[in-house]
Amino acid sequence: VANIVVFVELHEGRPLPVSLEVLGQARRLSSKLGATLYAAVLMRQAPDAESDALIAALARGGADKVLLLHDEASSPEGASLVWSTAGPAIAHIEDHLAPILFLFGATRGAREVAARAAAHNGSAFLDSASLELGEGGLTLWEGSGARARRLDADLEFPVVATVARGRYDPAACDDDAEVEVVKVAAGAEVEEIGWEAGGAPSQISCPSALMAVASPAAEALGATLDGSQPPDAPVLISLAAELRVALGAHAEGADADLAVVGDASALLAALAQAIGARA
């Protein structure tokens, strides 16, 4: 039986929404293809009673099996994945489950590990993939729309892919799934030795009139604002690129997959308020 695996990232003990969206589409693909769907989670702590809620959420999200990979050396929950700590778990998945499809939500962490996962087992790699079932079976693309690139293969070889936020809907299944727990051990090749706020972030162009309200939001995103741009500078699009969302009138034709109807100042004010409430 073929295996499809979704690598699930957590935030505050819960699966990221994008992970559940990928899991949902993987559920639909698995049902059609007759594959077994695994939700794989890398955990720093050994599973305990509190893991039951996570397992139930992943089962409701469509997983046939939940694979809890326990590694004390893995990155703290919420920290972005890096290969030195997540790599052994990912290699374990590929070496033991040999998934025909190995899917990640398109997060910063996935950007760090997904391509290497593809290289590890010689897979094809698709960034921001579209995974569609039709009469002819499964078709895989990188991207969407007219600029997409199609992978002409009928899963004759394994494929590793990331999937953008908002691309698919989560599934709604019952909360029944088998659970496997595996202990893995990362090496200590790369050591995190500290952190600092700010740094040299990327730059967001912004009309000067929006600087005051945009600054807190941009800071939280690790970006600076460039007020030197002309007044029509596309702060909406710039922020959208950072957040991987599309906004209002700019949603049409955008690569990103979320949209909000509203203007920049409303969005930034809400973000600033949300961030300020946490500071």
């Binding site: 890096v82 290289a119 961030i275």
Partner: protein, 245 residues
């Protein structure tokens, strides 16, 4: 130990990779790109201070996927890892016959973190090196590579002993000035056979490379309210208080 640095470049957009590399030490620039553009990029890299430039090429690479290209780059780096640094003094006449300079163990490979950001990690996999992406700054401290990489509003500091592969974003803030003009080093052109590969080994990777072909349009999903969007971003862990981990 003076690090031996390799910069992997694919086009003009990777010259910042060279700037990161030459700030660390003797740099060999490697590309698996085609034609005059590749030659121009390597020439620019030499002008930025790289000591040597190597181009490996075969027509099969034009159709290969990320991993085919990574295999060619990795084989080229591997072949040059054990060679003396291009900046090392030539063996003297008194050296024992057949003696060569001692290879440095401190190899740092630097690639760009642009676009799909797939080739760099794949080269690391082929060379069995640890790798880190989204690297903004690189420094050397007590024989270790210390890097700064940004995730959200936080800069994380990582340290590792070489060898390591780093995928960089942006320009280094402390890049050395371009060296005074001097006779440029020659660009070394290699075939796949020169680095121990064959076109046959890589030709199957063309099947793994996606080809242009329209896909269904991803319809933007409308979030009904600002509050919903903020909640969603919060659930994704994208909203963090300033200064928090």
């Amino acid at each position: 130990v003076t690090p031996r640095v390799f910069a992997l470049v694919d086009g003009p957009g990777d010259l910042d990779v060279v700037r990161h590399a030459v700030a660390l030490g003797d740099t060999t620039v490697v590309t698996a790109a085609e034609g005059p553009l590749a030659e121009a990029v390597l020439a620019d890299a030499l002008a930025l201070g790289a000591r040597a430039a190597v181009r490996v090429w075969d027509e099969v690479l034009a159709r290969a996927d990320f991993l085919g290209v990574a295999q060619a780059l990795a084989a080229t780096v591997r072949q040059h890892m054990g060679e003396p640094s291009p900046a090392a003094p030539a063996p003297t006449e008194t050296a024992a016959p057949g003696a060569t300079a001692t290879p440095t163990a401190a190899v740092i490979v630097i690639a760009g973190d642009r676009g799909r950001a797939a080739v760099g990690p794949a080269v690391a996999e082929r060379l069995s090196l640890p790798h880190l992406g989204q690297v903004m700054r690189i420094s050397l401290r007590d024989g270790r590579v210390v890097v700064r990489r940004r995730a959200g509003g936080i800069v994380h500091l990582f340290a590792a002993r070489p060898p390591i592969l780093l995928c960089t974003v942006g320009s280094p803030t402390d890049a050395p000035p371009a060296p005074a003009a001097s006779a440029p080093a020659a660009i070394q052109s290699l075939t796949l056979a020169d680095v121990g590969l064959s076109a046959t080994e890589l030709s199957h990777r063309r099947r793994f490379r996606p080809q242009p072909g329209a896909a269904p349009e991803a319809r933007p999903r409308v979030v009904p309210s600002i509050e919903t969007l903020v909640a969603r971003l919060d659930d994704e862990g994208l909203l963090r208080p300033k200064g928090a981990r």
